[in-house]
Amino acid sequence: MRKTRSKLISTACILLIITLLAACGGNNAPATTNNAADPGAQTPTNTAEKTKVTLMVGNTGTALEALRHVAAEAEDKLNITIEFDIKPDGTEGDNLVKTRLATGDMADLLVYNSGSLLQAINPEQNFVDLTNEPYMATVMDSFKSTVSANGKVFGVPFGSSNAGAILYNKKVYAELGLSVPKTWAEFMANNEKIHAAGKTAVIGTYKDTWTSQLFVLADFYNVHSQVPAFAEDYTANKAKYATTPAALRGFEKIEEVFKAGFMNKDFLATTYDVGLKMLAEGTGVHYPMLTSALDAINQNYPEQVNDIGVFAQPSDSADRNGLTVWMPSAIYINKEGKNVEAAKRWVEYFVSPEGQEVLTSKFNAAGPYVIEGVELPDDAYEGVKEMQVYFDEGRTAPALEFLSPVKGPNLENITVAVGSGISSAMEGAENYDKDVEKQAHQLNLPGW
């Protein structure tokens, strides 16, 4: 009887496991595809056997549309069909990417951030090493360093660079006779005049908490030019936001704007989309934001997009005036993908001058490109053209997240607290230092 029982148990176990596995395997294939929206699927021009490659990408702005266009061209050239796998953006998307990688369920190609977010998903373990691909010679070094780990390069740039800056309404500037401020004091003086004219001087959109971080993040050019070793010391746990006056300024700037009452009345309940509307219509004049917002303005208010200008977040001295730059996202090839070879060929086409031409014809740049020979088109947004000056004069620095893997996850909540007067700039900086410490412990970084 005992034998029978153990047999029964093992049979039951096996049955249970089989059922579980079958259930797991069954539902991932259809759930991850997006056939209906794939233009390749609707044009069965080529009758030869096509290789299918899956690509996971977010769906903000014109990026996806441009990518579809490249995919359609590539299908004719390479006989490779791209099957799009749309993911959400922001932390929601980060979560999904991490889970899909951990469960071995990742698409063949992934469009994902460069910099610290890439470092958090272990590129060496997950992605194909592209260091020795010939096309890498055309990619700018400043970009390559943000998609590298241990000296190996893992991604090719997707789209244009982007800057954290102050977007401003040029029409209102002309009406009020203002000029672009070179120092923080001038910026605050402009705010005062705009405020007096009955308009919102600084647009706050804290309902979408991520938008509250810009004053801190976009201040990094100023930090970097005063304390060049900050990024390195910060990664090594030797420099802190609260104890480095130049770094603390970012938090103080948020506080000063709040205390002066320059923000719109309901900034805690205002969303990013509403903020863009205010800027486009000129009811709000300054918006500390990423320049990719220009593309979003173009989608909703195409007539007004060229009224929007861009200037770097001012420092306390007119001698230091430069842009903090966000590198473009990148395309990575999944090591464990089903079609690594086809994916590699597709990426090669994508970065080739031909592929880039197709891409840039549909893509609205938010800043200069990082592949050699790819220039901004003449019809680039006015704001983007204003950025080019900073690039030409070499007055740019990458954002901290591209120089250091250390970035606390709670910055956006901390900056909301500082920006709505719940905590002071100093408290905010101290809280952020603690938040960063927690992240460093969890990533097991050396020196923490």
């Binding site: 009887m1 029982r5 029964l8 148990i9 039951a12 176990c13 249970l16 932390t91 980060d94 979560n95 991490k98 889970t99 951990a102 469960t103 958090a120 272990n122 804290y206 908490t209 009345k265 309901d266 805690l268 309940a269 996850p409 709670n410 909540n413 901390i414 909301v416 607290a417 709505s420 719940i422 905590s423 809280n431 603690k434 927690k438 992240q439 412990h441 969890q442 097991n444």
Partner: protein
Amino acid sequence: MSTMTKRRYSYVFLLPAAIIYFVFFLLPTVLSFFFSMTRWTLTDWDFIGFDNYITFFSETALSIGFRNTLIFAVVTCGLKVLLGLLLGTLLTSSIIFKSYLRSVIFFPTLLSTIAVGITFSTMMHPSQGLINISLAALGLNGPDWLGNVKIALLSVALVDVWKGVGIATVIFIAGITAIPQEYYEALKIDGGNAYDGFRHITIPLSRPAMNTVIILAFIGGLRTFDLIWAMTKGGPGFTTDLIASIIYKQYQAGFYGLATAGNVILFIGVSLLAFPLYRFLTRSEVDQ
């Protein structure tokens, strides 16, 4: 067959349920205790002892989280009991449209919490929200319901009460209808009025129903997550963070070990509060 084999034979029938219970309940529980002491990336872990717990307890936002969770649980539980009892009494008395009113009260319970949260956060917009526009029409100046640090948590608690009071009312209705009519008749003969009936018959005899409501509402309040996430995401800053939303943020950041430690803390915390409460309530029920 001997009695022994018979007994074993009968165990076999328990096996499917036992396996499911083991794989989906017992095993994850035990594993969560283990993973709460690791640095965990889902594929890979290393053991770091109680570091996660230390980090969790030294988190500045956590003390706010504990306080907020308690306030939230007590406020929602208290209001649900009070309103549930009053509504239950009203809806068991002989009033017009009784069954229609019963379904109206119960209706919010059927809605998705996320939908309720999004709807109310729109209605609570300080200048364009329905609530403040209505108040303005009456000449009142409504507060910034979700932006004001002092009242944001209470605003969410009120929405939770609106949504949850239906369940409490239904439980009270069941409890009150179970009270024999003879008691009320005896009271009438003795010359008592309606208030006496409520005070000396309805309240004491609906005690079992009240205990159920208290336990359900209190535990529900302690582990609330969806409503707060839909309405404020713990903001502005960290002012409406509950323990559950803090834990979720750790998961979001990819700190799986730390988040698991938070869940273990929440589990222990809820047990420490809920079991004694249950004991206390059921004991005084027997004493009646």
